[in-house]
C-alpha cells in the first residue's frame, strides 16, 4: 500500500457500506451536513448523528437496519423532524434513517375507504389528494402541512378534530414494519379489522419508533361530512369558558372540535401570521365545530350558543363563510409558532386532564407561572382535556431555560395530580422521560420495557427514549 501525499480523510467503512446500500447521493456524513439533524421540534437537547441515510424503499431500510444490527450500531428513524418531545434526537450518535424519500401515496381504495402510503408521505397531502372525491384523512396535527404519516404513527399523533374522530391509532388499518433485526413483517396487510393475535397495530402505533420502523401504512379515509359549522365565543372569564365546555359535552353534543385559548395565547396568535382580530381584553375564547348531516347541525349550534350565553359569553358568532372558518382555524393551528412573535423562545407542553378539572388545573398553571416568573400561554383541545401550556422564556438569559423546563414539568405534575396524563399527543421522547414517574410505578414501567425487549432486545433502535432508566433508584439509595 502506498500513501499519496495529499492524504484524504480516511473513509469510515461504515459510511462506505451504508453508501453502498442507499447510494452515494443518499447519505450525509460530513459534520456540517449532520448539524441540521441534531434535534427535531424539541430544540433544547442536541446530539450529532453518525450519518443520515435516505433509503428509497423498504428493502433499503431493511438492509441499513441489518447492517446496523449486525455491527451493534445504534440507529433511529426520522420523518419530517417536527416531533415536539425529542423522539428523533440521536442521543447515542445514531445512524438516522430518514424516510422523507419514501413519500408516495401508493394506492387509494374509495370503495373500501382506505389508502396506502409510504411513511414519508405528508399528512395534509393525503387529504388534498382525495378531497376532490369528497374524502379526507381525519387526524390533523397542527403541523399537518409538513409532518409525515410515518411520524404520526410513531407518535400516535392527535389534532384538533380528534374529539369526534379519534387519534391516529383509530385510523391505522395495516402496517409494514422493519423490525430492529431487519426482518420485514406485514400486519393486517389488507387493512382488515381484528388481525388474529395480539393487537400489534395498536402497540406499535405510538411506540415512538422504539419497536420497529414503519415502511408502509394502510389508513382509513373518511367521507367528508355533509356540512360543518364553526362557532367562535369570547369570554371575560376563563372559568365561564371552562363551564361552557363542560355543558356543551353534557348536552350530548359531540363536536368535531372544541378548542380553547387564553389571554396570553390570544396575544400571541394576534401578533402572529394569521391574526383574526380577536379583542385584546378577553380572557378566553372557544372555537367549536360541529359537523354531520346539515339539517341536524343548526339545532346543535343553537344549543351551543345558548350554553355560551348561559355562561356570560361576551360575544358568540358563527363563521359566515368557508373563508372565515379557514381564517379562524389558521389562527388556531399556527398558535404555537405565533408565540415566537411575543417571546424569543417557548416550550410547548402537552398534559391531559379529566375535563371537569379544567378550572382547577388552570388555576394551578397560573400559580406555576407566577412562581417561575415566566408567562404561560394556554392553547388546548378543551373537549378532550388536552392542554398545551406554552412556556415563554428567553434562552439568552442565564438560567431561564432551566426555569422554563422546570415550569413545564410542574405543569405536567399538576395534570398528573388530578388523575391526568403527561402527554396527549406529543409523546414522551426524551423530554418527558422523568415525568413518566408521575403516572407510572417502577413495575409498570418495567412491564412496558419488557415488551420493548421482545422487539428490540439489543436496544439499538432509538434507545434512551420514553422510559427512565432505573438509575434514580440507585441515587435514592445513596441518599438513604
Amino acid at each position: 500500500m502506498f500513501f499519496t501525499k495529499k492524504k484524504k480523510t480516511p473513509r469510515d467503512p461504515t459510511i462506505e457500506h451504508l453508501a453502498d446500500i442507499v447510494g452515494k447521493k443518499s447519505i450525509l456524513y460530513k459534520k456540517e451536513d449532520l448539524l441540521s439533524y441534531d434535534c427535531d421540534g424539541f430544540t433544547i437537547h442536541k446530539a450529532i448523528p453518525k450519518a443520515v441515510v435516505f433509503p428509497k424503499d423498504t428493502a433499503e431500510v431493511a438492509a441499513v437496519v441489518k447492517y446496523c444490527s449486525a455491527h451493534k450500531m445504534p440507529f433511529l428513524a426520522r420523518g419530517a423532524g417536527t416531533g415536539l418531545s425529542g423522539g428523533a434526537i440521536p442521543l447515542n450518535g445514531e445512524v438516522i434513517i430518514s424516510l422523507v424519500k419514501m413519500k408516495n401515496l401508493l394506492s387509494v381504495d374509495f370503495e373500501n375507504r382506505q389508502a396506502v402510503v409510504q411513511p414519508g408521505f405528508v399528512n395534509l397531502k393525503l387529504t388534498n389528494s382525495i378531497a376532490d372525491k369528497g374524502y379526507y384523512y381525519a387526524p390533523d396535527p397542527s403541523s399537518q402541512y409538513v409532518c409525515t404519516i410515518g411520524g404520526n404513527v410513531a407518535e400516535n399523533a392527535g389534532g384538533a378534530h380528534c374529539l369526534k374522530y379519534g387519534v391516529t391509532t383509530n385510523h391505522i388499518l395495516g402496517l409494514e414494519v422493519v423490525l430492529p433485526d431487519g426482518e420485514i413483517i406485514e400486519i393486517s396487510e389488507n387493512g382488515l379489522p381484528d388481525a388474529p393475535g395480539y393487537d400489534l397495530l395498536g402497540l406499535l402505533t405510538g411506540s415512538e419508533g422504539t419497536l420497529g420502523i414503519v415502511t408502509k401504512i394502510t389508513v382509513r379515509i373518511l367521507k367528508n361530512p355533509e356540512g360543518k359549522q364553526t362557532v367562535l365565543a369570547y369570554f371575560d372569564d376563563v372559568e365561564n369558558g371552562s363551564q361552557a365546555v363542560s355543558d356543551i359535552i353534557s348536552a350530548g353534543i359531540v363536536p368535531a372540535a372544541l378548542e380553547m385559548m387564553d389571554k396570553t395565547a390570544i396575544e400571541g396568535v394576534e401578533a402572529g401570521t394569521y391574526p383574526v382580530g380577536h379583542p385584546d381584553d378577553i380572557e378566553a375564547l372557544l372555537l367549536i365545530e360541529v359537523d354531520g348531516i346539515i339539517t341536524g347541525i343548526a339545532e346543535q349550534i343553537e344549543e351551543i350558543m345558548n350554553v355560551c350565553r348561559r355562561w356570560n359569553v361576551r360575544e358568540v358568532k358563527v363563521a359566515e363563510s368557508e373563508e372565515e372558518r379557514g381564517r379562524w382555524w389558521a389562527n388556531r393551528k399556527t398558535g404555537f409558532g405565533a408565540m415566537g412573535a411575543i417571546s424569543p423562545d417557548y416550550l410547548v407542553q402537552d398534559g391531559v386532564i379529566p375535563r371537569s378539572k379544567l378550572p382547577e388545573v388552570l388555576r394551578n398553571i397560573r400559580k406555576i407561572s407566577e412562581e417561575s416568573e415566566l408567562r404561560i400561554a394556554n392553547i388546548f383541545h378543551a373537549g378532550d382535556g388536552n392542554l398545551h401550556p406554552l412556556i415563554l422564556f428567553d434562552s439568552r438569559k442565564p438560567g431561564e431555560t432551566e426555569k422554563a423546563l422546570k415550569a413545564g414539568s410542574d405543569c405536567l405534575k399538576a395534570c398528573a395530580d388530578v388523575g391526568g396524563s403527561i402527554t396527549g399527543e406529543h409523546g414522551v421522547g426524551i423530554e418527558k422521560i422523568e415525568e413518566m414517574r408521575f403516572i407510572f410505578t417502577e413495575e409498570e414501567l418495567e412491564a412496558q420495557t419488557n415488551v420493548r425487549d421482545v422487539f428490540n432486545p439489543d436496544g439499538l433502535l432509538n434507545s434512551g427514549k420514553l422510559f427512565p432508566t432505573p438509575s434514580r433508584c440507585m441515587d435514592v439509595k445513596k441518599v438513604m
Binding site: 413483517i185 400486519i187 393475535g197 353534543i253 396527549g424 412491564a447
Partner: protein, 430 residues
C-alpha cells in the same frame, strides 16, 4: 367431571365446551385475584379465566385446568364521572348492567356485543367482541382508555389512564384487548362514554336473493354519499326469515342523530333504494327491540337447547368492506350443497361478518372448512368463536399463524412465562 355451580345457580360449567377446571373460585376483590394468581403461579398451576361463561366455546384445546377463576362476582361501577364522560367498571359487570346504569345519565358505552344480559365487560374486552354499530363507534380498542391488569405473578399493572387522550408510554391497553385472557386478568376497565343518541331509527331494505347486485350498487352509492349510518349490516335470507319473517337479503341501516337528521337520512334511503327492495322503517322503540332480538342470535355456551345430534358454531370473518357481499353470497351457495343451517350477517363499512352454523357435526365441520378456504382466497381472516370442545380438538379455531407469530410468543413469554393463564386458549397454542 360433574357440572359445577358457580354463582347463584346461574352459572354452570358444562364439560361440553372444555376450559373447565378442577375447582372454581370467584374472587370478590382485586387482592383475592392477586393471591389466587400468585399462589397458582408459584405452584405451577394452570388457570382458566372466565366472566359468566358465554364464551366457553371460544378457543382453547385444554379440557380442564387446575382452576377456573370466575370474575362473575367481581362486578360493579368503580367510578363514573358524568362530566368527563368516563366510567370505570369491574370486569364481572354485565353489558346490560353497565348500560342500565349509564342510561340514567343519558350516556352509554358505545359497544353492542352479543348477549348483553350475560356477557361481562371483562369478557367482551378480552375477546374483542363487537356488534353492528361498530361502524359508527369502532370496537373495544377504540373505547378502552385504561385497564388494571393482574399479572400471573400477582402484580397489578395499570395501563393507559383515566383521560380520553393519552400517549404516555406504550399503548399497553391494546395488548390485553382481544388477548383472550392469556396475558393477565383484567380487574378494572376504564372506558370513554358517548351520549345516548338523541334519536334513533332503523331502516330495513329487503330484496330477493337473485337481486343482491342491486343492493350492492345501492350500498356503494350510500357509502359514497353524505349519509352516516350507525350500522349497515347485511343479513342473509335465512337469518332475515328468523328475525323479520322475510326470506330475503336484508340491509339493516341504523341512524342515530338528532331527529331531523335521522328523518333526512331515512328520506334519502327511500329516494335512492333499489326499486325492487321492500322498505320498512322501525321507530326508536321498535329498533331497540329489534336490536335486542338481534343480540341473542349467536350461540352462547350458557344456553344449551339444540338436539343432541346437532352442533352449533359461530365463525367470525374479517374482510374488506364490500367483500361482505361475497361472503354472504358464498354462504348461500354453501347452503345449497349442505345440510347445515347457515345464518349470516356482515358489517358493510367495517368488514366483520358472522356465520352461525347449526346441524349434524359432519355438515358443520365441512361447511366451516369450505368457508375458510373461500375466505383465504379473499385474503380474509377466519376465527371460529364458538365450537364444542371435541371439535376444537380436531379443527384449529384460530386463523393461520402470521409470519410474526414469534412476537406473540415473545410477549407471552415475558408477561406470563409459566403459562399460568389460559394456556393454549389463543392462536398458535399460546
Amino acid at each position: 367431571m360433574e357440572l359445577k355451580e358457580v354463582s347463584g345457580g346461574q352459572l354452570v360449567l358444562s364439560k361440553k365446551y372444555g376450559n373447565t377446571g378442577l375447582s372454581v373460585v370467584t374472587p370478590k376483590s382485586e387482592e383475592e385475584i392477586q393471591q389466587i394468581l400468585c399462589t397458582a403461579n408459584e405452584e405451577g398451576k394452570k388457570i382458566s379465566v372466565m366472566g359468566r361463561g358465554t364464551k366457553r366455546g371460544y378457543g382453547g384445546v385444554k379440557e380442564e385446568y387446575d382452576l377456573v377463576l370466575s370474575l362473575a362476582n367481581y362486578k360493579g361501577i368503580v367510578e363514573h364521572t358524568v362530566g368527563d364522560m368516563t366510567v370505570t367498571a369491574r370486569p364481572g359487570t354485565t353489558i346490560a348492567e353497565l348500560q342500565g346504569y349509564l342510561k340514567k345519565h343519558d350516556q352509554m358505552v358505545s359497544i353492542d356485543p352479543s348477549w348483553p344480559e350475560e356477557a361481562t365487560i371483562g369478557g367482551v374486552i378480552a375477546a374483542n367482541e363487537s356488534g353492528p354499530k361498530r361502524l359508527k363507534y369502532g370496537a373495544a380498542r377504540d373505547l378502552v382508555i385504561g385497564l388494571r391488569v393482574v399479572y400471573a405473578d400477582g402484580s397489578v399493572i395499570r395501563t393507559g389512564g383515566k383521560v380520553v387522550k393519552n400517549v404516555a408510554g406504550y399503548d399497553m391497553n391494546k395488548l390485553f384487548i382481544g388477548s383472550m385472557g392469556t396475558l393477565g386478568v383484567i380487574s378494572e376497565i376504564t372506558m370513554k362514554l358517548r351520549p345516548l343518541p338523541k334519536f334513533e331509527s332503523l331502516v330495513l331494505l329487503s330484496i330477493d336473493e337473485d337481486r343482491l347486485e342491486e343492493l350492492k350498487a345501492f350500498t356503494v352509492k350510500l357509502q359514497g354519499s353524505m349519509i352516516e349510518p350507525a350500522s349497515l349490516e347485511l343479513v342473509n335470507p335465512a337469518l332475515s326469515k328468523k328475525l323479520l319473517d322475510r326470506e330475503e337479503y336484508t340491509l339493516l341501516i341504523a341512524f342515530e342523530d338528532v331527529e331531523r337528521a335521522v328523518r333526512y337520512q331515512e328520506e334519502w334511503v327511500a329516494a335512492n333504494k333499489p326499486d325492487a327492495a321492500i322498505l320498512s322503517n322501525l321507530s326508536s322503540d321498535e329498533s331497540r327491540e329489534f336490536w335486542k332480538g338481534f343480540s341473542v342470535i349467536q350461540p352462547n355456551a350458557l344456553k344449551e337447547n339444540e338436539p343432541a345430534d346437532h352442533v352449533q358454531a359461530t365463525v367470525k370473518i374479517s374482510s374488506r368492506n364490500i367483500q361482505v357481499f361475497d361472503i354472504l353470497e358464498e354462504v348461500r351457495l354453501l347452503k345449497q350443497v349442505n345440510k347445515a343451517e347457515l345464518d349470516a350477517h356482515g358489517g358493510l363499512g367495517h368488514g366483520v361478518s358472522f356465520v352461525i352454523l347449526k346441524g349434524p357435526e359432519e355438515a358443520v365441520t365441512s361447511t366451516i372448512a369450505s368457508l375458510r378456504d373461500f375466505v383465504r382466497t379473499k385474503q380474509g381472516f377466519t376465527t371460529i368463536k364458538h365450537l364444542p370442545f371435541e371439535l376444537r380438538k380436531k379443527i384449529d379455531t384460530w386463523h393461520d399463524k402470521p409470519s410474526y407469530f414469534f412476537l406473540f410468543e415473545g410477549i407471552k413469554r415475558k408477561v406470563d412465562p409459566k403459562n399460568t393463564l389460559n394456556h393454549k386458549r389463543f392462536i398458535g397454542g399460546i
